[in-house]
Amino acid sequence: MGDIQQTLKRINLPYSDGLYDWQSDLLIRKNKDRETIGSRSIKGISFRAFTDNGWVYSDSNKTDLPTMRKLAQSFNRERSDTKAKTRLSLPEPIKLDVKTPVVKDAGEVALEDKLQRIRELYNLAKGMDSRVLDVQVYYSEIALERALVSSHGTFARQRIPRTRVSMQVIVKENDVTDYDIFSSGGTMGYEVMENLTEQTVKETVQGALLQLQAVTTPTGPQNVIIDPGTVGTVCHESFGHGLEADQAIRGRSYLKDLLGKKVASDIVTIYEDSTLKQGWGSYQFDDDGAPARKNTLVEKGMLVSFLHDLETSAAMNTPLTASSRTQNALRRRFIRMSNTYSKPGDWAIDEIVKDTKNGVMMMRWQYGIEDPLGGGMQVTAKKGFLIENGTKTKPLKSVTLTGRVLEVLGSVDAVSKEGFTVDPGTCGKGSEDYVPVGGGGTWWRTKAVIA
């Protein structure tokens, strides 16, 4: 890569870089009919340069030196005005070669042992109740190796392992079929399997069986108590996407003019943290070469920071936030989140429930989607409970929360001190360009439209 860096330095453009990416993974799925085992090894090189016509990328799966040199030299045809360099905020060049540490390297555990554990978990869940129709156990381990060289002097490599396990228990009684899910993962090794204990399997089976009695969620505006994973989805999908500064510069963020202003209730503090230990979305440096960091987005209800890359940091005259990421070397780099979570508060969970006369509880987030311009929101959870006179009563089928983000954040009147978790998830920029992210916090109570 040193040779490539010299080639980039010789190009008469204010900035260019090359990102090498190699992702290899192992995916195992087991259900009653079969096991599926797959493995991928996908690599590529992405060169980009900042020109009069914006960013120009030249990407290939071929990572041999002659191809890389040819791709880098292709920028010799491009032009850039003399002011272009001032339109980028370049980080201090880094020279780094790091690997995220794990307790038990997944690559060193025999496939046979992984399959045996997966089969045990399957059998355990399947044997817990005759109404268990099927159990899907998923296991994935991903090894990422990513290197960045830039004309500015960065020469860095990071290796990040991500391991995840999840279980879906499907139950059937008479004509009703439903399920519950459990998922755990992070920048960690095979130790993730210790999170799927007999107790969590039992709780997932019981959760699925309870869904057989679930009633349709009452619709309309109401009090809602949301679990930590769902809080993370609100912080990420509904709120965080509006803080991606590329959207602000495009005139596509409802938060554009709210920096330093009140956007949530006083008890809400939200972080965006690519340094989070074992966070699914953690890394050592972003794909612009900025070292990972913990950013405060909202401090006691006040909007503190947007998320930036080289271009938006210069445009808004503010520090880099290490938020430039790409799915792989065959995709563009965009401003993205890493791990987004809320700070714990003062309430006990039981106190929040007892203090809620009527409403719903939302649990097991499934998905959410952004509305960076409009500030609308949609977050869907697999299940919930009706709250009646301060008590959890009937189980609910899937619960969808909609409304205006600022109204929902502004209505948060209780944040729990317990239950802090950051769940693994996948985020697209729109419906493409997927990167691993984490989302979480502790329990919130707010008001929203529920369906």
């Binding site: 259900n31 079969r34 096991e35 599926t36 085992i37 797959g38 493995s39 991928r40 090894s41 996908i42 690599k43 590529g44 016509n53 914006g54 960013w55 120009v56 990328y57 030249s58 990407d59 290939s60 799966n61 071929k62 496939l111 399959l115 129709l133 099927d134 499907i170 059937k172 079929t177 439903d178 399920y179 619709t219 505006p221 959207q247 495009r250 005139g251 596509r252 799915q327 065959l330 563009r332 998905y367 989607i369 509305d371 311009l373 409009g374 609308g376 929101m377 949609q378 869907t380 899937s398 969808t400 909609t402 409304g403 205006r404 729109g430 493409e432 997927y434 439209v449 529920i450 369906a451």
Partner: protein, 448 residues
């Protein structure tokens, strides 16, 4: 490299290799500017190995995107298969393939120019609108060559062209802003012709200039074709699959009345320029047309090779590689699953105007946030992002906010009209040919 020879050397078991070579041009737009341009070339290889066992088979899959890694990938697939426990099935033998239309010669001949011309036309049309701006856009053209070979001597090739367009159209000014954010795939420019589709999108965007929230009620709702696709494909597609039957999860039984008389759906792998049209499916079976629902009656399940052989049937050409986030040129990364090709919903006899004219009070929904129905329960709940009210048979103000909810398998009993025109569409789901459909008694929840 002679890949079949490599595979024969690595394993004496059944093998299959699926190869994709692609070239992409991506243009990212902001207003009249270009934000980024990306040129990309990639070749990927997906290898599946099936080793017989006394209790079935071991099936292993591995993929890579480097020719030098093909032998190691084949060994990896073989090693994974040795540990795996699955039912045994035979890979397909060579058969006569249908002739289908998958190539737009304009994209094939000069994808760079098509992308540039498309982007410039779109930007020009949007710039002419005073209340609307293009905050972000993507135009992508790509050409994909697919090749499949297996240990039974089967060897097929095909070529497909693709166009992807995404636009975020900001409407209004100051604090009174909203947007329409369409994304669409097509195999030829004619199905997304900018001089036709951009004015349609601008019209939808403009309808939100004056807007209000919906009220909570059960009402008549017309779904636009992309929404029909997002509602039907994950749910009807799943419950019609042999895999769902095998898992005892399908709610469909042959001959049962499962929908309104007006609904006929065909899994159509041969639809001209359909998004999943190809002479062969992703494990080498000829693609075909399979009637799933005819006048409300469930007719046929769709089968891939595995489920056909383990359930005593024949493959219907529904072994499809469609992993989460896998684009048309990234399918080599995932093994085939039992899935739909193009879900072709047959048109009705009324125009969209007719469907609207018969509604006293209702909504036409173009775009919810993300419907994403649960494939098992078919439940959905999604915020309304772009809709128009219908009052006494005429379209009125925009409707934004509130929630559309229900279950897809209930919804298909509530059809009261289907439009007579069809579009090759994708929303979040990929691969439909769909009309506008009107449903009665749909749950809408307003914010107040």
């Amino acid at each position: 490299m002679n890949i079949p020879q490599v595979l024969d050397r690595v394993t004496r078991a059944q093998w299959e290799v699926f190869i994709q070579h692609s070239k992409r041009t991506d243009l990212h737009l902001r207003g009249n500017q270009r934000e980024a341009s990306i040129r990309q070339e990639n070749t990927g290889y997906g290898v599946r190995v099936i080793i017989p066992r006394s209790d079935g088979a071991g099936v292993g899959f591995a993929s890579c995107n480097s020719e030098e890694a093909v032998e190691a990938t084949a060994k990896r697939a073989h090693d994974l298969a040795k540990q795996n426990r699955s039912p045994f099935f035979e890979l397909p033998n060579k058969k006569k393939l249908p002739t289908v239309k998958t190539v737009d010669t304009k994209i094939l001949d000069n994808k760079d120019k098509v992308a540039k011309d498309y982007a410039e036309t779109a930007q020009s049309l949007i710039a002419d609108e005073k209340d609307i701006s293009l905050t972000f856009g993507k135009v992508r053209t790509y050409v994909v060559e697919n090749q499949i070979s297996n240990s039974h001597g089967l060897s097929y090739k095909s070529t497909g062209t693709h166009l992807y367009v995404e636009m975020t159209l900001k409407v209004g000014s100051g604090s009174n802003v909203t947007e329409f954010w369409p994304t669409r795939h097509a195999c030829r420019v004619a199905d997304l012709a900018p001089d036709k589709i951009i004015p349609e999108w601008l019209s939808v965007a403009k309808s939100s200039l004056k807007r209000h929230s919906p009220k909570t009620e059960q009402t008549t709702v017309i779904f636009a074709p992309t929404l029909v696709c997002d509602t039907f494909l994950p749910t009807i597609g799943f419950h019609a699959s042999a895999e769902a039957v095998k898992q005892n999860l399908s709610r469909f039984k042959k001959g049962d009345k499962i929908a309104s008389d007006q609904l006929t759906i065909v899994d159509d792998g041969l639809y001209p320029y359909g998004l999943r049209t190809n002479p062969f499916d992703d494990e080498g079976q000829p693609q075909q047309r399979t009637t799933i629902i005819e006048k409300g009656l469930f007719k046929n399940y769709i089968y891939d090779q595995l489920h056909a052989q383990t359930m005593g049937s024949k493959s219907t050409g529904n072994g499809i590689r469609a992993g989460f986030g896998a684009d048309a040129d990234e399918r080599y990364q995932v093994p085939p699953e039992n899935s739909t090709t193009n879900l072709h919903i047959k048109p009705g006899n009324e125009s969209l105007d007719d469907l609207i004219r018969d509604v006293k009070d209702g909504l036409l929904i173009y775009h919810p946030a993300w419907l994403n129905p649960d494939e098992i329960t078919t439940r959905f709940g999604s915020e309304i992002r772009n809709a128009q009210e219908i009052k006494n048979g005429e379209l009125g103000e925009g409707v934004v906010g509130g929630t559309l909810s229900g279950t897809a398998l209930d919804l298909i009993h509530r059809i009261s009209g289907i439009s007579d025109d069809l579009e090759v569409v994708s929303g979040y789901s990929f691969g439909c040919v769909a009309p506008y459909i009107r449903f009665d008694g749909v749950q809408i929840s307003g914010p107040a």
